[in-house]
């Protein structure tokens, strides 16, 4: 899609618009040829008025712009005060703003990249209505989403891409949701992750009597509501669901990063009321964030600094003992199989997988009782992935409770003892034992199981 919208150049093949082969070398030239991509995160100028936001990059005088915008807004049913500041637009309105930007450029094709991932369900419904209306007026629309229900709901034709290949392409009425799920899974899904661990040993499930290391009850916030569950020592609890279903927000609320969250969190029986990440760490609860560049790693500093950032008080009294620090760093480099020339190597120069391991080491250095792993294998290579899986197993063997979030459902199914599935900000299902299959988790994630049961 970035190629079609002119951000990247075309490597091979032909791009035709209205029957003519075209070359697009910038977003601007794509706009001129009639293609506009509504980005996943709309470009809003928070302090400009809505009208000005619409006009950026166009040369109409304000009065004419207003005239041109008004009928478009009416058509879309976009009820907005044009003099309001951009900052006050909701994400749904920001998306409409991007649509109007496209319409103002008289485009024939609108591309929506995951438009619903940040929307509430009410907001998404409104968006679909508008998309249908545009389509009925002759607009070509490409809708990218991995929310299957939505794709089924709005599309006329569906194509499924897997690993850069079109594996399914047909009219919507000829496709069932289950076909889609099957098409999206790798052919040998059941054996995908780790052959040796294929038969999940039941004995690994800890006995039900042990007291939970983590109890969450009635936790609610902006992105999710009424989450309750408990985690036992040595257990891997999977948390499945689609992007935007509220999993990351739930984790952030658990470790005290959301001041507005309500509900209780207990670690080893102790109620952590005024939580902060620091307090949670002291009680043995640690979170490994999803976005490691933004929240996990100190890119410009030696790798070992990320590993020891949370445990500096253990490295001597008045002065940090650099030998101790180096020893601690090296012990994790060895145990996690981190590939670096020296522990003093700048973290930013490591590969993605090794960066992730450094972040993991930083969490493990605190000797946690509970680890929340948010997308621990995103964007890392296969061998690093195996190392992460091995790490999870060794943690549980040591009696640590692990909450595992992953968008790769096979991974969740294969590694977890139990799986909670989140949908629309709620935990909708708990799957364990023989119910814990890839198919069930997938369907529940897309909200299908919920409707069926």
């Amino acid at each position: 899609m970035k190629i079609i919208s002119g951000v990247y150049p075309l490597d091979a093949g032909v791009l035709e618009l209205e029957g003519k082969s075209v070359r697009l070398d910038s977003p601007r030239s794509a706009h001129e040829r009639g293609v506009y991509m509504v980005p996943q995160e709309p470009h809003v100028f928070p302090h400009l008025s809505v009208l000005e936001n619409l006009g950026v990059g166009l040369s109409y005088p304000p009065a004419e712009l207003r005239e041109r915008v008004r009928p478009l807004l009416q058509d879309l049913g976009f009820d907005v005060n044009l003099d309001e500041q951009g900052a006050f637009l909701s994400i749904a309105q920001q998306q409409l703003l991007e649509i109007v930007r496209g319409l103002l450029r008289n485009v024939k094709v609108l591309i929506f990249d995951e438009p619903t991932s940040a929307l509430t369900f009410k907001e998404a419904d409104h968006l679909f209505e508008r998309m249908r209306r545009l389509a009925s007026q002759g607009m070509g629309i490409v809708f990218i989403s991995h929310r299957m229900g939505e794709v089924m709901e709005v599309s006329n034709r569906i194509s499924v891409l897997r690993d850069g290949e079109v594996v399914l392409s047909d009219f919507t009425e000829n496709v069932s949701p289950h076909d889609l799920v099957r098409a999206m899974l790798p052919p040998d899904a059941a054996h995908a992750v780790d052959q040796e661990d294929d038969q999940r040993p039941a004995i690994r499930s800890p006995s039900r009597e042990t007291t939970p290391v983590l109890e969450v009850s009635g936790l609610s916030s902006e992105a999710f509501s009424d989450a309750s569950f408990s985690l036992r020592p040595g257990e891997v609890l999977g948390l499945a669901g689609l992007v935007g279903s509220g999993r990351t927000e739930l984790c952030e609320a658990i470790v005290g990063l959301d001041d507005h969250a309500r509900g209780t969190v207990r670690v080893r029986g102790q109620d952590l009321a005024q939580r902060s990440p620091a307090l949670c760490r002291r009680h043995g609860l640690v979170y490994v964030p999803e976005d490691r560049h933004a929240h996990g790693i100190f890119l410009d500093l030696p790798s070992v600094y990320t590993i020891t950032a949370g445990v500096l008080e253990r490295l001597g009294g008045l002065f940090l003992d650099s030998n101790k620090e180096a020893d601690l760093g090296r012990s994790f480099v060895d145990s996690l199989n981190i590939k670096l020339s020296s522990i003093w190597q700048t973290a930013g120069t490591l590969s993605g997988g090794n960066q992730q391991k450094v972040v993991l080491a930083g969490a493990l250095a605190t000797d946690p009782a509970v680890v929340l792993l948010d997308e621990p294998t995103r964007g890392i290579d296969a061998s690093a992935r195996q190392d992460v899986y091995r790490l999870i197993r060794s943690l549980t063997a040591a009696g640590v409770g692990v909450l595992l979030i992953s968008s790769e459902l096979e991974e969740v199914v294969d590694l977890s003892d139990r799986v909670l599935v989140m949908h629309r900000g709620r935990i909708v299902t708990e799957l364990a034992g023989s119910d814990l299959t890839l198919e069930n988790v997938t369907e529940a994630s897309f909200g299908l199981l919920e409707e069926a049961s």
Binding site: A278, R281, L301, L312
Partner: protein
Amino acid sequence: MNWTRYLRTWEFALAVLLVLEIVVLGVINPVFFNLENLLYSTLDFTHILFAALPLTLVIITAGIDISGVSIMGLASITLGLVWVAGVNVFVALAVALLVGVLAGAFNGVFVSRTDVNPLVITLGTLFMFAGLAQGMPALLDKLGFKAYGSAGLAAYQYEGITGLPESFIMLTEGTVGIVPYPFIAVLLFALVLSLLLHRTRFGRYLYLIGVNPKAAIYSGVPIRRVLVWAYVLSGFGAALAGVMLTSYFTSARADLGGDALLPIITAVVLGGADILGGSGTILGTLLAGMILGFLRQGLLAIGVTNDLIQVVVGGLLISAMAAKQLIHVYGEYRLKRWALSKKEGR
């Protein structure tokens, strides 16, 4: 084990530059080869170092504190007023330092508790502290307290609070052998700050906050407390500078240090600290401050005017930063070329 690593550091380059500078200045004017003279001339810029060294810590956190130049005057006038009130001058000195600490704490609390840009906050306190320093004597005088010292208002306006005891003046006039007390003090201060920055948990936290404040929070760094202490140290350093200047000029004045902002920030930035946070060392700031200080002394000695020196210092600051940027851009360019050639090679 790997000592060649140190040869490639910025601090080493600065050290070489410092030696070169002294040699060149000495060849032009042999006075510079007289160690006693050289050391004595540090008195003219020790106050810059006192303020710049702890400011390095603040800049490492991606913050900035421009109020230090006002804290200098505030500390100076506090010392003078407390002394005029009949208190022992060294107790007055302690009170002045305490005022610096409190001023720094005010900055720190404001910075760490709000999302307001530190530049705006310390700009506000720059005005506020300067205003307090200017207004306090007048207010006390109005309240019937002879705040201007024995010589009265006219003399105060001209030369500040004078007549400070000899023992206090000796703080800057005294020497150990041929080394002036203030220079020893600033080296000790640098040593303490250096240990603090490079060897303690607090110092590590400063870097972590500067590089990635979000990740620091996720890692459980007590970010607010650390920030407050960084600004407190900056205020304390500025107060030390103010006290030192008071002794050096033998008078307590509200406007001491008013023109020090440019050299202070130049020293920190030239010393290798990134204004965007995450890098910088105490040694770098110390060396850069000394290079700038001796440069000034040297140029003055060969008859260059103060004004031209200002131009040179400004030009030096800009060229150093521009060079840093160019090296960075060139590095990225080479990295891209390398990546592309690797791709094509396959």
